[in-house]
């Protein structure tokens, strides 16, 4: 279908965008890559009164790095991460993830910040950036604040971003050179949304261990028990740990098929990381 009538403004700075958003936050939507928002407008699921186009704001396209972390502007595209056009804090994990995210024509426009702001339960970045212990820097009329990516997504398409705030950047701590990771996305065709998603990271000589799953009926789910036991565990021990973690997430109402897919994804991601 065609999108409904809408107003459109392309501000020249982030400050101007925030001012506009604050004035019309009840009816305005922030347009970055538009790869979900425009589709939702075409389907008449979304009908904002005003689009505030931030896609080409130079301050949101900046990538920088210091000794401890890489900071990526919110409007950096998936394709830029895939191609290594921005610094990689993750020993190859983020470029690998980006390459599996939708199709190239979508990756050329879709943005890191847009993916986080929408927080589709099957989206890759909320899961991967939770595993990487990233922080999301948001800006609103009262200035900046920084939120841990773990906990930023609170549910299905729900986040802690206020209606008058815009994601400015994501600060991602660097993995050490000897970090190991595993990533598994289960879907039936290249580029589809995941039926199950898992990331495992082992760093600091095995001290730092995180296993996170996605496409799990809600926010990214940190598998605490699995992360705790993963180094010295047998396959059976690992399966029991994943089962225990999924049992604790009873509020997700995962059916047997989803539980099976998520268990397979988590175990394979861990095995990849341990190899």
């Amino acid at each position: 279908m065609k999108p409904p009538a809408v107003d459109y403004i392309r501000p020249q700075s982030l400050a101007e965008a925030i001012e506009l958003l604050a004035r019309r936050s009840d009816e305005a939507r922030v347009l970055a890559g538009g790869q979900s928002l425009t589709a939702m407008m075409n389907l008449r699921i979304a009908s904002p009164g005003l689009l505030i186009d931030i896609a080409r704001l130079p301050e949101l396209a900046v990538a920088s790095e210091d000794g401890a972390a890489v900071t990526l502007g919110a409007c950096i595209t998936h394709a830029a991460i895939e191609d290594g056009r921005v610094p990689d804090p993750s020993c190859g994990l983020m470029p690998r993830v980006a390459a599996t995210l939708s199709h190239r024509a979508v990756r050329n426009r879709g943005t890191l910040g847009g993916s986080l702001a929408l927080s589709d339960p099957a989206a890759e970045w909320p899961v991967v950036l939770t595993a990487l212990d990233a922080e999301i820097v948001v800006r609103g009329p009262n200035g900046r604040r920084s939120l841990k990516c773990a906990g930023f997504t609170t549910g299905i398409f729900e986040t802690r971003l206020n209606g008058d705030e815009i994601i400015e950047s994501v600060r991602i701590p660097k993995l050490s050179g000897d970090a190991r990771w595993g990533y598994l996305k289960l879907c039936r065709k290249a580029g589809e949304f995941a039926n199950a998603l898992a990331v495992a990271i082992i760093d600091a000589g095995g001290e730092d261990r995180r296993v996170v799953i996605g496409a799990a009926n809600g926010a990214p789910l940190v598998l605490e028990e699995t992360s705790r036991v993963l180094a010295g565990s047998t396959d059976n021990g690992m399966r029991e740990a994943v089962t225990a973690d999924l049992d604790r997430a009873a509020d997700r109402h995962l059916d047997d098929y989803q539980r099976n897919l998520l268990t397979v994804a988590a175990m394979r991601a861990v095995q990849q990381a341990l190899q």
């Binding site: 065609k2 809408v6 425009t38 199709h103 024509a105 979508v106 290249a190 580029g191």
Partner: protein
């Protein structure tokens, strides 16, 4: 209405557009560039794929108003492009189309895969085409044609 100024297939264009007008409808209805096809209108079928600033994009998922100062290329705009010439010849030779509806976007996507060196194997070509649906299901000949084009370009250099 908002005034936009952009380049389409190398030519300067200036028009007033309503904000809700998609880039695809702008190209088809206002510029008569009907080689850009619309299938699903929500980013799934890939039939409307064009180049925005040199990179493939879904023209159904972009608003014309957001393309102010951008450079657009549609299937009508590749005259003299060596990779596109080789692809067209091989699509013809290997009968890589049936109804032809998906073909313009298949060609644009294939050209991008070749230029980014992501068409080195059948697996790579099939993954790269996953975002372009052929409802005649004629994928076998499309993949064959792209592989043949890669071979031909490889011999002479891109």
């Amino acid at each position: 209405m908002t005034a936009i100024r952009l380049r389409i297939n190398g030519a300067e264009v200036a028009e007033d557009v309503p904000a809700r007008l998609s880039l695809a409808d702008f190209l088809r209805e206002r510029r008569n560039l009907t080689g850009t096809h619309l299938g699903c209108e929500h980013g799934v079928c890939g039939a409307c794929t064009i180049l925005v600033d040199g990179e493939p994009a879904r023209s159904c998922l972009m608003l014309a108003v957001a393309c102010d100062e951008r450079e657009i290329e549609t299937i009508e705009g590749f005259a003299g492009d060596r990779v596109m010439d080789v692809l067209r010849r091989n699509f013809h030779r290997h009968h890589a189309l049936q109804c032809g509806y998906c073909t313009p976007a298949m060609l644009i996507t294939a050209r991008d895969l070749i230029l980014r060196r992501r068409a080195g194997s059948e697996r790579e070509i099939r993954d790269g085409l996953a975002g372009n649906i052929c409802r005649c299901t004629g994928y076998t000949n499309i993949v064959t044609a792209i592989a043949a084009a890669v071979g031909e370009i490889g011999e002479g250099g891109a």
